[in-house]
Symmetry: C2
Subunit: 212 residues, 2 copies
């Protein structure tokens, strides 16, 4: 089945979440990378835990909460103005270097399906000036990835089941595979595959290879 | 409301999951602690991700899968006999030093509510010779903590809502609080509280303090 639509994860796949590390480093010299890593790890944990607790909150709230935890765990002072500035950074994350050219070469519908709430996600996509046919947020279904309702949202919105889903987050790729999509896992870090009972249709090292 | 039953989490609360590190160290010198840490982290991630994917598998399968991932990520060879031996270790985890005496002083029903599947959990409790009125596994409801169905299981099985829930896993304590239990978080590591929108009724530093 040829893909009629390419659906991309945003954070970690098109946009480098760790591009916040530079500003973190300016606030907490020597700790920028640690803050960024723990912030991201907790952000994801909270999405899974809140989903299971049935206590969904928008990704912007979860992201602020995770930053607060990360700084407390690393014993770093965090001021309100720093939270605001770092959340602003999240709307200007760096694109992965190959993303723009790779997307421009793809034929068919192109869309984003992201945990990001519209208040974070829409400015990010707009600031990066990438052309998408649809930008879909889990906020419509009030549960985070990898719940099947999330992937189903793309089927409903794009009106096709012939979807190729692209994510650099292995668990997201496998969640999409479990749902039924054709899945490409972008494994930039050459990490082991997650043992979740599913395999991606292809493991790629960059977005360039999606075309092939 | 006085508690009619004390319900304890098992892994990390009564039993030290990192007591597997010694055997890991014997297999992979210099890497025992790293294996144990990553194994535990992935074990939990997989419980959350599989629950959200609606692809429940028993904790014993998830635990084996997480060990496989951890060794692959750390580029360590893992043989079948080592998996079996480490899974056997999981049925003989060390009790936290204060656990036995603290439990013996508690009046009222005492129970365990654990992610552990019966094939792992029942031998562990039996080997530790702790007296419980009930040992409850999420395997009955086929979803992992912190889903509310898990905490509800304790209400049904113990036939009381007057439950004091005790966990050293903050997200588990807060999941139980979200469900409606009185909750004691055992914070042995003096970690920050997770930002999940709930607070425990008390933060304790050891099981001894549950009595007070």
């Amino acid at each position: 089945m040829a893909a009629e639509a390419f659906v991309f994860d945003a954070y970690g796949t098109l946009y480098d979440v760790h591009s916040v590390a530079a500003r973190c480093e300016s606030y907490w010299p020597g700790k920028g990378a640690s803050v960024s890593q723990l912030w991201r790890a907790k952000q994801l944990e909270y999405t899974w835990q809140r989903s299971l607790m049935r206590r969904y909150e928008p990704f912007s709230s979860v992201t602020r909460a995770a930053l607060s935890y990360a700084c407390a765990a690393l014993r770093l002072e965090l001021e309100g103005a720093q939270v605001d500035a770092l959340m602003e950074e999240y709307t200007r994350l760096a694109l992965y270097p190959e993303a723009r050219a790779a997307l421009s070469r793809l034929r068919g519908k192109k869309a984003i399906l992201s945990n990001g709430s519209p208040d974070m996600l829409l400015p990010l996509v707009e600031n990066s000036a990438l052309p998408f046919d649809a930008v879909m947020s889990v906020d419509e279904v009030k549960v985070f990835k990898p719940a099947p309702e999330v992937y189903e949202l793309a089927v409903h919105r794009l009106r096709t089941e012939a979807i190729a889903f692209v994510s650099a987050n292995c668990w997201d790729a496998l969640g999409a595979k479990s749902y039924g999509f054709t899945v490409y896992w972008i494994n930039r870090a050459r990490a082991p595959i997650d043992r979740l009972g599913f395999e991606p249709d292809a493991v790629l090292t960059s977005l360039d290879e999606v075309l092939q």
